[in-house]
């Protein structure tokens, strides 16, 4: 009887299982599946655009053609585009970086100190109703013509989605996880570090992704309010000269800055949140 019992105990009633290895697709297949259709649509639109201009002989100062923009990119690269790309890129990166640090920091502080959240959150929401467009000239008057006001505008415009998403992410962590941690002797700090912060990371990255698309717009607002460098300035300066192709080339570069920043955020999310599967969508 006892021999039988110990034998029964030794045998695990659970069948042996092996870890599941996720399937991997090739990088090209992955890229094609996610962006293939978008690429096709863009190519088709570019072809229609080019044909339209050639067939109807649209004057190039009215509307640049894709080939005209390409020519401008090559011709104007070293003299106009590159010298103005760097200032805008620095404004975007510095402003975005500041907003991430400040936004995530504020979200954490507001989350950990509830009375402070009650005090600051309504003000934060209220501040968003002030249009950045009207704020930009004020900041230029206050902070001068240089890099600083643009960085501040980019940071301001990016700050809000990061704080709000971060706070939501921290607040919406399931209470059951927190209860579970409390019965396992976790301190407040331990719960924050091991449960709330990692749990909120995907939300924080969502906020950063939204912010990444705003960053370039912020830089342009800042430059339009008063600047002598940058892609926004280049667009403004090229308009009276009817340098339409150069304007489009500058817009293209702005788009590329925004997309690169977006891609960077997505890459960071993949590195820091490998447990989140987004089905390959950036």
């Amino acid at each position: 009887m006892s021999a039988k019992a110990s034998e029964e105990r030794a045998a695990d009633p659970m069948p042996a299982e092996d870890p599941i290895v996720p399937k991997r697709t090739s990088a090209f297949g992955h890229f094609w599946r996610n962006y293939g259709l978008a690429m096709l649509i863009i190519i088709a639109l570019l072809v229609i655009w080019e044909l339209w201009i050639r067939i109807f002989h649209v004057p190039k100062y009215l509307l640049a053609s894709p080939t005209g923009i390409w020519t401008s990119l090559q011709k104007d690269w070293s003299r106009y585009l590159l010298p103005n790309l760097w200032p805008t890129l620095s404004e975007v990166l510095i402003g975005f970086g500041i907003s991430v640090v400040a936004g995530v920091g504020l979200a954490i502080v507001l989350h950990l100190f509830t009375p402070l959240r009650r005090a600051v959150y309504p003000i934060l929401i209220g501040s968003q109703t002030i249009p950045i467009v009207v704020l930009a000239p004020v900041l230029v008057i206050l902070l001068g013509y240089g890099l600083l006001p643009k960085v501040v505008i980019v940071a301001l415009i990016c700050f809000f989605p990061i704080v709000v998403n971060g706070l939501d992410g921290l607040r919406l962590v399931d209470d059951d996880f927190i209860r579970m941690m409390r019965t396992l002797d976790a301190t407040r700090w331990s719960i924050f570090r091991k449960v709330e912060f990692p749990g909120a990371l995907p939300s924080i990255f969502s906020g950063m992704r939204v912010a990444a698309t705003f960053a370039a717009i912020g830089a342009i607002f800042g430059e339009w309010a008063g600047s002598s460098v940058g892609l926004g300035y280049l667009i403004q300066a090229s308009t009276p000269n009817l340098q339409t192709a150069r304007i489009f080339a500058a817009i293209l570069l702005l788009t590329l800055i925004a997309m690169a920043l977006f891609g960077l955020v997505s890459l960071l999310e993949r590195i820091f949140c490998p447990w989140v599967s987004r089905g390959g969508v950036l």
């Binding site: 029964e8 659970m14 299982e17 870890p19 941690m181 396992l184 301190t187 990692p198 949140c273 490998p274």
Partner: protein
């Protein structure tokens, strides 16, 4: 096998001057607004015994567990958990295994299981070294470094149970531990838990709506009423489970008889 299991920890093993009461509920009441969840709940649990609490859903069973764990404060009566009556004191004595496995998706199975040790200030490395040996005993060998989303439901529940055990508390509170599993896996897990608990001399409070589960896994079954939750009856189970399979136990005449009286009490 006994020395391999997590059990046999200081507090639970040393007798405390003849006082053999593990948990004592005395006229415990709890209301949420106008809804009375528990009313005049009184019963005692011996140290190192296994108690099942059954009753209809919404009968305040989970509330009773949260009160015991010190996650909630009662409105009336007193709760004594091995001499601790404050919520903090109760919290220090109890480890709770929730219905949902609540594994942290960003941690591997091993890192999830060791979290209680880490919470006590032990380094990650030492916590891993201490937890790793239990994986084989829990049928989780080779799965130490796998994230929860790659584990089956039953395995996740076992990691969750191991995590609760690693807290090395005297009292285990199991809240519908297999409620989220399909019935086949559930049966397997019940059988497995029956053996696992046999190795672990601790006070176990198991809440379930499944009468079979309560009768199979506990020595005493407390039947509770629908809201407001009151104790309807206390059944002494005392079934012979040693060396028997789950199927043999749940189909025995004694089991059927107990099940009948439990179901009658619930109605």
């Amino acid at each position: 096998m006994a020395e391999r299991s997590v059990g046999v920890q200081g507090g639970a093993a040393t007798p405390s001057g003849g006082d053999n009461v593990g948990i004592a509920f005395d006229r415990v009441g709890k209301a949420f607004g106008d809804v009375v969840a528990l009313d005049g709940v009184t019963f005692e649990i011996e140290r190192n015994s296994r108690i099942g609490i059954v009753g209809p859903s919404g009968g305040g069973k989970s509330t009773l567990l949260q009160l015991t764990a010190g996650l909630l404060e009662q409105d009336a009566g007193s709760i004594n958990v091995e001499g601790e009556t404050s919520t903090e004191g109760r919290l220090s004595r109890c480890a709770m295994m929730p219905q949902r496995d609540l594994l942290l998706p960003w941690r591997t199975a091993l890192d999830n299981a060791m979290i209680a040790i880490e919470n006590r200030g032990v380094s990650k490395k030492d916590a891993r070294a201490k937890t790793r040996p239990y994986f084989e005993h829990f049928g989780l060998a080779k799965f130490e470094d796998v994230r929860p989303d790659a584990l089956s439901g039953g395995m996740r529940q076992r990691v969750s149970f191991l995590r609760t055990l690693m807290a090395e508390k005297d009292i285990l509170l199991l809240d519908e531990p297999f409620g989220a599993l399909d019935s086949i896996t559930r049966g397997q897990m019940q059988e497995w838990l029956l053996r696992a608990l046999g190795d672990v001399p601790r006070t176990v409070l198991l809440v379930t709506h499944d009468v079979d589960e309560a009768l199979l896994l506990s020595r005493t079954v407390v039947v509770m009423s629908a809201r407001p939750g009151r104790v309807v009856t206390v059944l002494d189970v005392g079934l012979q489970t040693e060396g028997l399979s789950r199927r043999e136990i749940v189909t025995s005449p004694e089991f059927i008889e107990l099940k009948e009286s439990a179901l009658e009490a619930i109605e």
